[in-house]
Amino acid sequence: MDLIADLLISFSLIVAGVFGLVGSFGLIKLRDPMSRLHGPTKATTLGVGGALVASVLYFLLVMKDFSFHELLITLFLFMTAPITAHFIAKMHIHRNERRDTLPATGTDRPWATFESDTERARAEARRQG
């Protein structure tokens, strides 16, 4: 029984380590900033996730105790990680992209990053008639 517990915990730790490593390797290997952004999203999901599963298993199987904190870490991570990624992407758009390098929105207004205040005021006025 102890052996199985050890194996399960080690397995989750290795999964966490491998995905953390691949995510970081992606930062070096990929070329443009937007592609690099994909590396950390992997590290925060399966990388941290594996470590948290290992922690839950350790407390459950070895210490005979259940800890909720890992679930909370997952919850908070899933709420905050997209926001950081979104900010980095937004900064990239501000600095390196122009209207004509991005695909069309398919609506009559541009991407929010590119809409100037005057354009916005005009669009709002048009909507209110």
Partner: protein, 163 residues
């Protein structure tokens, strides 16, 4: 009366549960404190969500979470394979514009968060009128397939949950 005391019953429930998880123990003391927080915080934050949508379909929300967790695992492996074995020259990073059927801001936020958390796609911007979402894909030779998958797999479910 009940509506004024509990403007947001699910938030109250969530806060009580999260408080027990933070304390890592269920005792009368922590339940009381959790209940106090669960009553006060929704009342104080009520002005922040004026037109919040009702959750129409709770079982659907649970199955949505499970689907997203599973997709995260699958997509992690896919992206790991792309990073490790695909040469940079063969890669097709691509912007994809996704026209949205969702209208509630909460649902769109959840869709954008889901897209970012599943590796391989990052949501980057929203059109000024909130009707189109800009997504960056790490490797998408076929943008239409990505668009169709996101619309079918996530947006359709979120629409059932929120709208």
């Amino acid at each position: 009366m009940i509506r004024r005391l509990l403007p947001h019953p699910y938030l109250t429930l969530l806060l009580v549960i999260v408080w027990q998880m933070l304390v890592n123990d269920v005792s009368p003391g922590s339940l009381t404190l959790g209940l106090i927080l669960g009553l006060i915080i929704p009342i104080i934050t009520a002005p922040y969500w004026p037109n919040r949508p009702a959750l129409r379909n709770l079982p659907m929300l649970a199955s949505y979470c499970l689907i997203v967790l599973w997709d995260i695992v699958v997509a992690n492996v896919t992206v790991a394979r792309i990073i490790l074995f695909k040469r940079n020259e063969d890669m097709h990073p691509n912007w994809v514009a996704i026209p949205l059927d969702l209208r509630t801001p909460e649902a769109i936020t959840m869709l954008a968060g889901t897209i970012t958390m599943t590796p391989g796609t990052v949501s980057a911007d929203l059109s000024a009128d909130g009707r189109s979402l800009l997504v960056h894909c790490l490797d998408a030779p076929d943008p239409d397939a990505v668009r169709a998958e996101i619309k079918h797999r996530y947006e359709r479910r979120l629409k059932e949950i929120f709208e």
